[in-house]
């Protein structure tokens, strides 16, 4: 449905006048933040895809590439088989209707000068849907759907609490009946007790509308609970793509193991899974696997070349020299030292 093929994105610093002149003479600027460094990932209809990573891992950039809020530097993003950069104007409009994005911070992504009602009607106006009366009706429906009182249509964003704003944000994203909803950290700005409200609302909408939902988050505990597939990013690359039923039952990528451990903080100390060091510098990533400098299982080859991201079990891919086909010993024989999902389901 939506597919990224080997996409790259580098954010370059602004050049200044001297830089622009140098560029004129053919000296291309070097450097910049390499946010996404070659990622291929598909979004299937009606699935819940979780993209998990720490800050600087490239997860938000990937989400923005998917929704064409950013354009890839290399590689392509396809929607229903067509390259987003080659869409006609009409197709682009349709794409924007079908793929909606929900921003992390509702306070800064809602126009403070528009009432909630205007915010929700705006998309309908742009896409020339309905007339004034039917739009009004639709706005009230949407408010009800996300659990806001109809009287809120006249309020401005600053009159909402954080949780209510995120509900409004969701209503806006749903106003055009999208097929894919990409939500960037939908709950991380909220308190725990309200966080669960928003997550449950998202899940309900996904189910009722049959949406494909892409949830971008740093919280593996949360995502592993709700997503049908989890993609783990690190240093601008995919480390592992895990279908929900395999989560916790296989020998995961070393980084994924460490991330699990941090989700279960109290266990981490006993199991010695606290990572040393820090994520790579995105301006100057290591030549090999980005995780190699912190990896407890790193070999010589890991420092030198990047392991390919390969499918080893159907639906499951991993980028690690000591996992998958190329692994020295098949991991399935013995139970792993870190049993992650011991549920008797």
């Amino acid at each position: 449905m939506l597919e990224a093929r080997n996409v790259f994105k580098t954010f370059r610093p602004s050049l200044g006048i001297a830089g622009e002149i140098r560029k004129l003479f053919g000296r291309a600027p070097q450097g910049g933040t390499q946010a996404v460094r070659g990622v291929s990932l598909q979004v299937f209809p009606r699935e819940i895809l979780g993209i998990v990573g720490e800050s600087g891992s490239g997860k938000s950039t990937l989400g923005r590439l998917f929704s064409s809020l950013l354009l890839p530097e290399r590689g392509e993003v396809l929607f229903e088989g067509k390259n987003l950069q080659e869409l006609t104007k009409a197709e682009k409009l349709l794409f924007r209707r079908k793929v909606q994005f929900m921003f992390q911070d509702p306070a800064s992504s809602l126009n403070p000068r528009l009432t909630a009602g205007r915010t929700l009607a705006e998309g309908l106006v742009i896409h020339k849907i309905g007339n004034r009366a039917s739009r009004q009706k639709r706005v009230l429906e949407l408010l009800g759907e996300v659990g806001l009182d109809p009287s809120f249509a006249r309020r401005y964003p600053h009159q909402f609490s954080g949780g209510q704003r995120q509900r409004l944000s969701l209503a806006r994203a749903l106003s055009l009946n999208p097929e894919i909803l990409i939500a960037d950290e939908p709950a991380s700005a909220l308190d725990v007790s309200v966080q669960a409200q928003i997550v449950n609302l998202l899940l309900e909408e996904q189910k009722v509308r049959g949406l494909a939902l892409v949830i971008i988050s740093h919280d593996l505990a949360l995502v592993s609970l709700i997503a049908t597939r989890v993609a783990i990013m690190y240093g601008g690359l995919l480390m592992e793509l895990i279908p929900q039923d395999l989560l916790g039952h296989i020998n995961h990528h070393p980084y994924v193991k460490a991330l699990w451990a941090s989700a279960e903080s109290s266990l981490a100390k006993e199991q010695n899974l606290i990572l040393e060091g820090e994520p790579p510098d995105p301006e100057n990533p290591p030549p090999g696997c980005p995780f190699a400098p912190r990896c407890p299982e790193a070999q010589l080859i890991c420092q030198e070349s990047s392991p390919p991201f390969k499918e080893d079990i159907p639906g499951h891919s991993v980028a690690c020299f000591s996992r998958g086909e190329s692994a020295p010993a098949p991991p399935e024989a013995s139970p792993q030292p870190l049993t992650l999902g011991n549920q008797s389901r």
Binding site: S161, S193, Q195, A221, L225, S262, A263, E276, Q343
Partner: protein, 331 residues
């Protein structure tokens, strides 16, 4: 799981004792902290948990004398090692901060001065608070920076804060808070700005270093999970009030709010059994909501009529457990 230290025997006087503290903002009647009592023994680690607006950070600021402009202490007492902090003259109180009481701030970037090198910022604590010479201070700082796990203390000493990642900056802030082996460390959301794997490093560092110094720690956070391995004594705050005080961690919470909070968390990955998140309906009350009764009543699944009318007292249910709830008075 176990706390790093055995709490000292009951006969020793408390390291810190806050009694019936109330804080108000100058104009309003609203009290962001109401009748808060909290005690900590020497070397004891306690967590103060609450959501945004619950008054947990304001509690830390009251302790350190760092209340924001307009906030005033309306009543109550704070005593630290037997000293009444609120009656102490400002100069004396200042001399305690940084030496006997250290604070770790939430946002390490704004806690560090951007135009002064890391080394100078750490060394000045030794020079001005402990009267060391420049050379002594430098040596002490270097050893401290290596204790908090900076890979190259000599280079770090000469660098400015912006050169550092969030995790490294927080290590520096911890170094500064612990420089003079304080008896009490107040850590206000020290890991909130950090990534999960880095947060874990910082928690461990903090646990090891404070245990080695036998410092008492008041660990303020909204993250229940992070507290799990760190503190068994936990105070739960909501809308300026302590609703539950326990010495057994949050594995089996008692107050309906704490129970709801624990249920709303994504379960521990290895304990999950396919259950959904259970949210607490509604939102926390704002400063303009004037609730005469229990502040949690509007969201509480077990509320009764009297809950909205009068505030339940914080009652001792058994040794090491106090709960503010009419529905939990017998246990």
């Amino acid at each position: 799981m176990t706390p790093p230290l055995d709490p000292s025997s009951p006969s020793t006087p408390p390291l810190l004792e806050i009694a019936n503290l109330s804080v108000a903002f100058s104009q309003g009647r609203h009290l962001p902290i109401r009748d808060l009592s909290l005690a900590l023994k020497a070397g004891e680690v306690a967590g103060l948990v609450g959501e945004s607006g619950s008054g947990k950070s304001l509690t830390a600021f009251s302790l350190m004398g760092l209340l924001p402009h307009g906030a005033k202490i309306r009543g109550g007492k704070i005593s630290f090692e037997g000293l009444n902090l609120l009656a102490l003259d400002p100069q004396k109180r200042r001399s305690l901060c940084g030496s006997a009481m250290g604070m770790i701030f939430q946002e390490p970037l704004s806690a560090l001065n951007p135009v002064i090198t890391i080394g100078e910022q750490v060394a000045e604590i030794f020079r001005y608070k402990a009267g060391k010479t420049r050379q002594e201070a430098k040596e002490l700082s270097l050893s401290l920076l290596s204790q908090v796990g900076l890979p190259n203390p000599k280079a770090a000493f000469k660098s400015y804060p912006h050169r550092f990642s969030g995790g490294m900056r927080q290590r520096v802030v911890i170094a500064m808070a612990l420089a003079l082996n304080p008896a009490l460390v107040v850590a206000d959301e020290p890991t909130t700005a950090l990534d999960p794997t880095i947060a874990l490093q910082i928690i461990n560092l903090l646990r090891d270093l404070t245990a080695a110094r036998n410092s008492g720690v008041l660990f303020i956070t909204h993250n229940l999970r992070i507290l799990e391995g760190f503190a068994r004594k936990v105070f739960v705050m909501y809308a300026g009030l302590i609703l539950e005080e326990t010495e057994r961690g949050l594995k089996s919470p008692v107050h309906p709010y704490t129970q709801g909070l624990v249920r709303a968390l994504p379960p521990n990955p290895s304990e999950r059994s396919g259950r959904a998140l259970i949210p607490i309906p509604g939102g926390a009350p704002g400063p303009s909501d004037d609730l005469p009764g229990c502040p949690f009543a509007p969201r509480c699944p077990e509320r009764e009529e009297r809950c909205a009318l009068s505030l339940p007292p914080l009652k001792t249910l058994r040794e090491g457990l106090k709960v503010r709830c009419f529905r939990r008075e017998t246990c």
